[in-house]
């Protein structure tokens, strides 16, 4: 929402010697592992207690996962979803950033189109999806467009704040020292926008993941969302959970291996 984009908080740890940072990461992973192990135990106990197919235990879900991998193209569906997420996310980041920067730099544009942004920010995701499928058919392009349109207003609102917050002081500094346009972009403008890109990316990814599943459920012949829908009709909870866990794993891997290191790098200069 527009309200919570105003102050992106750069939450990188301070620069530390590499060894200590690695140690802290190890400890964190250790605790997370223990905590998840606890969750698994509670889950297994509950499943055993209830003894129903509606709450399969970890072992049943693991077996369902193996069956899916062997017979129903588990990784193919996960890959299809991942590809859609990547495409829609990239599209939304590029278009949303361009739009947000334009609105943030030009008062006239902001007055003309700021209202549109509010409108699209509050348009329910499901409405966009349905309209895209109705207007453009049940196609891949319609699916990606639906996800991107849901996400673009968020990115735009965040980057608009970023553009508004650009420092006039540094602008003057660049002017006096006659920095080239490329140098200004590389050294002055983009580093100021980096925390805003990070916030947009993080919030965006969380949103895109969820919407992609709905888009697949409503009108795609493959992907995790499509599979969830199929197995929902069969009331096969174990398989549904098998897809859910694969999904969680991928999201977490992206968060830990891509987003966090990047954010740390972008804010390493802070005191």
């Amino acid at each position: 929402m527009a309200a919570d984009v105003a102050q992106p908080v750069a939450s990188g740890p301070e620069t530390r010697p590499a060894g200590r940072r690695g140690g802290a990461l190890g400890a964190r992973l250790g605790w997370t592992g223990l905590s998840l192990l606890g969750f698994g135990l509670v889950w297994a106990a509950l499943a055993a207690l209830i003894g129903s197919d509606e709450l399969p235990g970890p072992v049943a879900v693991w077996e369902a996962l193996l069956v899916q991998i062997r017979t129903d193209g588990y990784f193919g569906h996960l890959g299809a979803t991942l590809a859609r997420v990547a495409a829609a996310f990239g599209l939304a980041m590029v278009l949303g950033s361009a739009l947000g920067l334009a609105l943030g730099r030009s008062g006239a544009l902001d007055r003309a189109f700021g209202g549109w942004l509010t409108l699209f920010l509050n348009l329910p995701a499901l409405v966009t999806i349905i309209l895209c499928y109705v207007w453009f058919g049940l196609t891949e392009a319609a699916a990606l467009a639906a996800v991107a349109v849901n996400k673009i207003p968020n990115v735009a609102a965040t980057l608009r704040e970023g553009a508004r917050a650009l420092s006039r002081d540094l602008d003057e500094m660049a002017e006096v020292h006659r920095l080239s346009r490329l140098d200004r972009l590389r050294h002055v403008v983009l580093p100021q926008l980096a925390p805003f890109f990070a916030v947009a990316a993080r919030n965006g990814l969380a949103l895109v993941w969820k919407i992609v599943l709905v888009v697949e459920l409503l009108g795609r012949p493959n992907g995790v969302g499509f599979q969830l829908h199929s197995y929902f009709q069969l009331f096969d909870v174990a398989t549904i959970l098998a897809y859910a866990f694969g999904f969680i794993l991928v999201v977490q891997a992206i968060e830990l291996l891509i987003l966090e290191p990047w954010e740390r790098r972008a804010t390493h200069w802070r005191r």
């Binding site: 002081d169 540094l170 003057e172 500094m173 006096v176 020292h177 050294h187 580093p191 200069w269």
Partner: protein, 227 residues
């Protein structure tokens, strides 16, 4: 005057407001160092901005010497996400020269630190090194010594002297501190009134060497400003 700075301002106002600067005319010869004094908020920074070409919205004519103009802002305005060496190198395009410039202002040890990790005095010196990286024919300084502790201010003063000697550039130094003006400048331009005008334009009787003596500066301060 050829090769110098010539200011013939009729008026400067910021959008919708009353005029901030009135008629102001003066010329600085090549190599001359002038201080621009007056109370805070009177428009010294505004005039410096006009001369630097940051603001072209004014009535009048300002002619700058052919060549690059350096500006040292009141706040250092370093890029916090780049090291001191990178900050200078971005301007001069040569990492080795950037380090040499930083060494000139006593910052060879700190060259690879980010600005937020060094003191304000060091940031100011890095900003001076960056300004000098353009090989200026004129150096504009906005309150170069403000909010520095006495030792840092003294060090910075020495570096400014050295920078002027080395480059032979003309200098215009805006300051609210009259003693600082007398120490740094050959000539003192005083702003007063609203809109601001030149109320006095005095040439210092002290030579550059004489100005280094505290007593001589105090005596001149008493003579010009009383007390």
């Amino acid at each position: 005057m050829s090769g110098g700075l010539s200011v013939a301002l009729r008026q400067k106002r910021f959008a919708g407001g009353p005029p901030v600067l009135g008629e102001i005319a003066f010329e600085l010869a090549p190599g001359e160092r002038a201080a621009l004094i007056g109370p805070s908020g009177i428009g010294k920074s505004a005039l410096i901005g006009l001369i630097a070409g940051l603001d072209r919205d004014f009535e009048g004519e300002i002619r700058t010497p052919p060549g690059r103009i350096a500006m040292v802002f009141q706040t250092p305005r370093l890029l916090p996400w780049r090291t001191l060496a990178e900050n200078v190198a971005i301007v001069c395009g040569d990492p080795a020269r950037a380090r040499a410039l930083l060494a000139d202002v006593g910052l060879s040890e700190a060259a690879d630190l980010h600005p937020e990790r060094v003191s304000l005095g060091m940031q100011r010196r890095a900003a001076l090194a960056r300004a000098l990286a353009v090989d200026p024919v004129a150096i504009l300084l906005d309150e170069p010594l403000v909010s520095l502790d006495p030792a840092s201010a003294e060090a910075m003063r020495g570096l400014l002297d050295a920078a002027f000697e080395r480059t032979g550039a003309l200098g215009l130094i805006a300051t609210h501190d009259r003693r600082e003006a007398l120490i740094l400048a050959d000539r003192v331009l005083e702003f007063g009134g609203r809109p601001a005008r030149l109320v006095s334009d005095r040439r210092s009787p002290l030579s550059r060497a004489e100005r280094r003596a505290r007593g001589a500066v105090e005596a001149l301060h008493a003579d010009w400003f009383g007390g």
